[in-house]
């Protein structure tokens, strides 16, 4: 479970977050949506501990991101905004590296790596160096290394961006599967169709503030728009007034 309370963050003169609050529950997919520059990625970055908040609090399974960063890191799997790979390491070595950083080793780690390679259908690239991987292939490696320690919480920054249809479908299937295992998934997206099809809850962010919060149906109802995209435009104030 992820709890965010009155989160604030500024970069010099830019107020990226001006008091964001929401909760993402276990067994649910929560979509963090909003226009470019709304603060989605900043919120995720604070949650996955690469940025420190200026004010407010954020906690994962009750552990504060500032006071207990190590505990938070043990409980999250992250597909960060930057998802660079090491060109000279193979897919398998990428997954193994992150697994070992989570304290996994030996046969247990190798078993998990094999299962992820199988699950993400990456057999063909498992033992190839990452140099020259396509966007879809890189994404699979990045996802696999985020999942190797079986994290109870998943933070995914635009997991389907730039993927072809088949890869995007596979990724969505994976997200559902993780949700069905009772884990907490928080992800950002731009594609309203995807959000509508995948999310149990939506958090609409605009200008560093939460503009709307609830199920897709609740959002449609509160904005009076039948189409989710229209509802989104209305909630963020980017639509026709």
């Amino acid at each position: 479970m992820i709890e965010v309370n009155d989160l604030r963050k500024s970069f010099k003169a830019v107020h990226a977050l001006r008091g964001v609050s929401f909760t993402a529950f276990d067994g649910e997919v929560t979509g963090l949506i909003g226009p470019n520059g709304a603060g989605k990625t900043t919120t995720l970055r604070i949650l996955y501990t690469v940025l420190t908040p200026d004010g407010g609090s954020a906690a994962v399974d009750g552990f504060d991101v500032r006071a207990n960063a190590r505990e938070v890191q043990r409980r999250i799997g992250v597909l960060a905004d930057a998802r660079g790979l090491y060109p000279r390491l193979t897919s398998r070595e990428h997954i193994r590296y992150f697994g070992r950083l989570h304290g996994l080793k030996g046969a247990e780690l190798e078993r998990r790596i094999d299962r992820l390679i199988d699950m993400l259908d990456m057999g063909a690239i498992a033992d190839r160096p990452a140099h020259g991987f396509s966007k879809g292939q890189s994404m699979k490696v990045a996802l696999a290394r985020a999942l190797v320690h079986h994290p109870p919480n998943l933070l995914l920054d635009e997991p389907t961006a730039g993927l072809d249809v088949a890869s995007a479908r596979a990724t969505r299937a994976l997200i559902r599967r993780i949700r069905d295992e009772g884990r907490c998934v928080l992800f950002t997206s731009h594609i309203m169709q995807e959000v509508g099809a995948l999310c149990d809850k939506l958090v609409v962010i605009g200008d560093g503030l939460v503009r709307a919060n609830g199920t897709p149906d609740e959002l449609r109802r509160s904005t009076g728009k039948a189409d989710l995209e229209e509802a989104f435009m209305s909630a963020t104030g980017t639509g026709e007034k």
């Binding site: 010099k12 420190t52 190590r70 998802r83 090491y86 390491l89 590296y97 290394r145």
Partner: protein, 391 residues
């Protein structure tokens, strides 16, 4: 903690080992110093330290004016050749190392036992001309003394009357003569290698990691940032130490080969000396590596990092280059300056001078303390948001 540092360290080492081109280049680089010194010894050293009985070419103008003198200096090894039209020009342009001009009134004055004049054309700015010049000068002085002695004896006087001083040189350079000059070149080259040997890894593991977009995912793992930093410093340290070791071996092999050849060079630098030099360098390697990681952390891009780190090695090498030509009296406080202390210590070691324990303790202690201070600074810099997101 050690588990996590070890995991990151191993990954960095393996990753870097696969970068064949960078690794082989980094291990070829250290050969440059020994090669330069070897070339200097072969080309310059040979002309300076040639055997005392070898012949040297001496162009003479007015040869006919002093047949006795010519005969004398020929027995002293001079190969007399006719002088060009303008001897001064010939020496200035390097056609000849030196030239002798015998004045036209030489014969007349010599016969009347008056002071006769000869001119020796020299170029003091050319190191390679020194040998011919001093051989010619010695031959002329010997002739001067012999004739003077004969003239005094002919008058029944003690020849020593005109030579109040008997000058005997005592050579203190450990019997190595010019060798010391070449040995002095080792410290600056070593310091340079210490600051260059692993620099590509310092850049790749921090600036590179950031630019490649792999820093952000890495930081989401349950590893303290200072642990990541320590692992990266350790990996860079290992490759720096490798480069320094390669250079020391290259120096040893080079000196062995040269000593075997006919270059008038006598060096006896044993294995333990090289091992001790390596140990003396260890704290400085930590200093250099941490400095590199700090620079790679605060700079905004790969390119900027490369610019700074490309210039960095020149600064600590400069004092060593100066010391090749100028000897200084090493005070213990100088040992406290990282890089300068080691430059002095390595210089003393290779020249075979006795080391004091105090110097070693001060040099190593202060450099180690400075390195730990830099490590603490690096840890603080690694903890900032700016590690990933540069302003």
């Amino acid at each position: 903690m050690f588990d996590r540092v070890w995991v990151v360290f191993c990954k960095e080492v393996i990753d870097n080992m696969r970068d064949r081109r960078s690794v082989s280049l980094a291990l070829l680089y250290p050969f440059l110093g020994p090669l330069v010194v070897a070339a200097l010894i072969v080309f310059v050293g040979k002309s300076i330290t040639s055997a005392p009985n070898a012949t040297f070419i001496l162009p003479v103008q007015g040869e006919a004016n002093a047949p006795e003198l010519i005969e004398y200096i020929t027995t002293k090894g001079a190969l007399v050749v006719p002088a060009p039209k303008d001897p001064a020009l010939a020496v200035r342009t390097g056609k000849f190392d030196t030239a002798l001009i015998i004045s036209d009134d030489y014969g007349e004055k010599f016969d009347r036992e008056r002071q006769a004049t000869v001119h020796l054309v020299v170029d003091g700015s050319r190191l390679s001309a020194v040998i011919a010049m001093s051989r010619a000068l010695d031959a002329l002085r010997d002739y001067n003394r012999d004739i003077g002695t004969a003239r005094l004896e002919a008058r029944g006087l003690d020849p020593n009357l005109s030579v109040p001083l008997a000058i005997e040189q005592i050579n203190v350079s450990g019997g190595r003569n010019l060798t010391g000059f070449f040995l002095n070149m080792m410290p600056p080259f070593l310091i340079f290698t210490i600051f260059v040997g692993g620099v590509y890894l310092a850049i790749d593991t921090t600036s590179g990691e950031r630019e490649r977009g792999s820093m952000e995912p890495l930081l989401t793992n349950p590893v303290a940032r200072w642990e990541l930093m320590v692992a990266k410093v350790a990996a860079t340290f290992v490759f720096t130490a490798m480069a320094v070791a390669v250079q020391l071996v290259a120096f040893k092999v080079m000196f062995n080969l040269i000593t075997g050849g006919d270059f008038g060079l006598r060096v006896d630098l044993g294995f333990w000396l090289f091992a001790s030099v390596f140990l003396i360098c260890l704290p400085l390697m930590l200093f250099a590596v941490t400095l590199q990681v700090i620079i790679a952390t605060v700079t905004r891009s790969f390119k900027e990092t490369q610019t700074y780190l490309g210039l960095l090695p020149l600064v600590p090498s400069l004092p060593g280059l100066v010391l090749v030509f100028v000897a200084i009296n090493a005070h213990p406080w100088m040992m406290a300056i990282p890089t300068f202390g080691q430059t002095l210590l390595i210089g003393q070691m290779v020249r075979g001078e006795p080391l004091t324990g105090l110097s070693i303790v001060v040099a190593s202690g202060f450099t180690l303390a400075a390195s730990l201070g830099l490590l603490a600074l690096a840890a603080r810099l690694y903890a900032r948001d700016e590690l990933v997101f540069t302003g």
